[in-house]
């Protein structure tokens, strides 16, 4: 099917993007288009105007700070991330997850930030934001603001972005950042190893999915861990997709990993189930679909129009989390 007719603008500055969004209610931001254009083709979305970011300079960069924080601009493609070999050491979970998104032919144009803003709860990227504790940087008529992963997702296709706000970049804290400020953060090590060069912490990440056919996953778990030289775990973050209306942070399972000791699959499954129950209770409190968001109501995930992959995905979630932790710990040796 062809998309419904729409108008198109390609402003040269971010402020003009915001102005265009504010002037035309229902307008949508176009970055890589690999989630938005299928939704238009299905006529799940019929925006009157697309505002393309292609002419805005400076959004196609991956920047690093001295604290090893990553800033990835709104036009950085998944292919760019795949080909940035330093990222395998700086953020192993990002490097591992990005090559599971879509197909090589869609990663050419698909962007990380666009995938975050599309807010498909059955897709890898929103769960990646949650697992990495990322921060979305947004520009709107009232200025710039930062939105943390915990506050970003409001439901399928729905984010905390206002209709006239545009996601400009995502900030990803160093993979060795832990809740305790006493733990040093290092500069990135060699690609693949993920070891930071202070010798204090080794970082590993893993993305484990159920993908029945082709590469469109039904659900999955993402884990990133940082280990001290003695093997103990200094930081662990886990997120699930395809199991609820939003990506789910598995905090109880994270605490079990931080507590150390051998991983008990039955315990992880139990804790994951509690995490899911808590997430679904929180989802039930969400306001219904109308209003401000720059995501899609019909998603491109395997679950189609549904919010999640159903009982099967909730049943296997614990095992996915267990495998993701296990692989992340092995990678962080």
């Amino acid at each position: 099917m062809k998309p419904a007719p729409f108008d198109y603008r390609s402003p040269a500055t971010l402020d003009d993007v915001v102005t265009a969004l504010a002037e035309q209610p229902g307008a949508r931001v176009l970055a890589g288009g690999q989630s938005l254009l299928p939704a238009l083709a299905r006529r799940a979305l019929r925006p009157p105007l697309l505002v393309d970011l292609r002419a805005v300079p400076g959004l196609d960069r991956i920047d690093r700070t001295s604290q090893a924080t990553l800033f990835i601009g709104a036009r950085v493609t998944q292919r760019q991330i795949e080909r940035d070999h330093a990222l395998a050491g700086e953020c192993p979970l990002l490097a591992e997850t990005i090559r599971r998104v879509g197909h090589p032919q869609t990663r050419t144009r698909g962007t990380l930030v666009g995938g975050l803003a599309h807010a498909d709860p059955a897709a890898e990227l929103p769960a990646l934001l949650v697992a990495l504790d990322g921060v979305v940087h947004a520009r709107g008529p009232r200025g710039d603001r930062r939105i943390g992963a915990d506050a970003f997702y409001l439901g399928p296709g729905r984010t905390a972005l206002a209709p006239d706000e545009v996601a400009v970049a995502v900030e990803i804290p160093s993979a060795t950042t832990t809740p305790s400020p006493a733990v040093p953060t290092g500069t990135p090590g060699d690609a693949g190893g993920g070891t930071d060069d202070t010798g204090d912490l080794a970082v590993g990440g893993a993305c484990v999915e159920v993908a029945p056919r082709a590469t469109v996953a039904l659900c999955g778990a993402l884990a990133t861990v940082a280990r001290r030289a003695d093997g103990t775990v200094a930081a662990a973050r886990i997120a699930l997709f395809g199991v609820a209306a939003r990506p789910v942070r598995a905090r109880r399972a994270e605490r079990a990993v931080l507590d150390g000791g051998p991983l008990d699959p039955a315990l992880i499954a139990l804790l994951t189930r509690e995490d899911l129950d808590a997430a679904r209770a929180a989802d039930a409190e969400l306001p219904d679909g109308e209003g401000g968001t720059n995501g899609a109501s019909g998603t491109n995930g395997a679950a189609g129009a549904g919010a999640d992959g159903g009982d099967y995905c909730r049943e296997v979630a614990g095992e996915l989390v267990h495998r993701a932790i296990d692989r992340a710990l092995v990678a962080a040796r």
Partner: protein, 160 residues
């Protein structure tokens, strides 16, 4: 809805035209330039039949708006065998019976063409990952993969 000026270079030939915003690159090629070798299956990015090279990289022709391709270079299957002689990807697919109805073939040709043109030679895993982006209802993929593998030589473990 207004028309938008677009300038694209397709298989080495520059074109300037005005197009509606919703026109896909695939429809630009097929309907406006008469290059019907680019096939449209699902029109929503799943099947891969419309894959073309945009600035040298494989993309879904249905998931790029014509206006987004402004200023870009596009290679379609018509540009692969420009002089009428099959290129080595096409010859390998023919040799290994890597097609039957041929609907998905143009996209596969361009995906493989791109892989072979990369600085680092692709491995078997790269071939599988790239072909994963293409649906074929005839061959069962085995012969497509055989054709692709014939272009990169035998895997080290298969040499004796």
């Amino acid at each position: 809805m207004s028309e938008h000026p677009v300038e694209v270079t397709v298989n080495g030939t520059r074109h300037r035209l005005d197009v509606p915003a919703r026109l896909s690159l695939a429809d630009l090629l097929r309907e406006h330039l008469g290059l019907t070798g680019t096939h449209l299956g699902c029109e929503q990015g799943r099947c891969g039949s419309c894959t073309v090279l945009l600035s040298g990289e494989p993309v879904r022709g249905c998931l790029v708006l014509a206006v987004q391709a402004d200023g870009a270079e596009v290679t379609t299957v018509e540009g692969v065998a420009a002089d009428g002689t099959l290129d080595r990807v096409q010859s390998a697919l023919r040799e290994h019976h890597g097609l039957q109805c041929g609907f998905c073939t143009p996209g596969i040709v361009l995906t493989l063409r791109h892989l072979l043109d990369l600085p680092a030679p692709p491995g078997r895993d790269d071939l599988v990952a790239a072909l994963d982006g293409h649906l074929c209802r005839c061959t069962g993929y085995v012969n497509i993969l055989r054709a692709a593998e014939s272009l990169i030589g035998p895997a080290p473990s298969e040499r004796s």
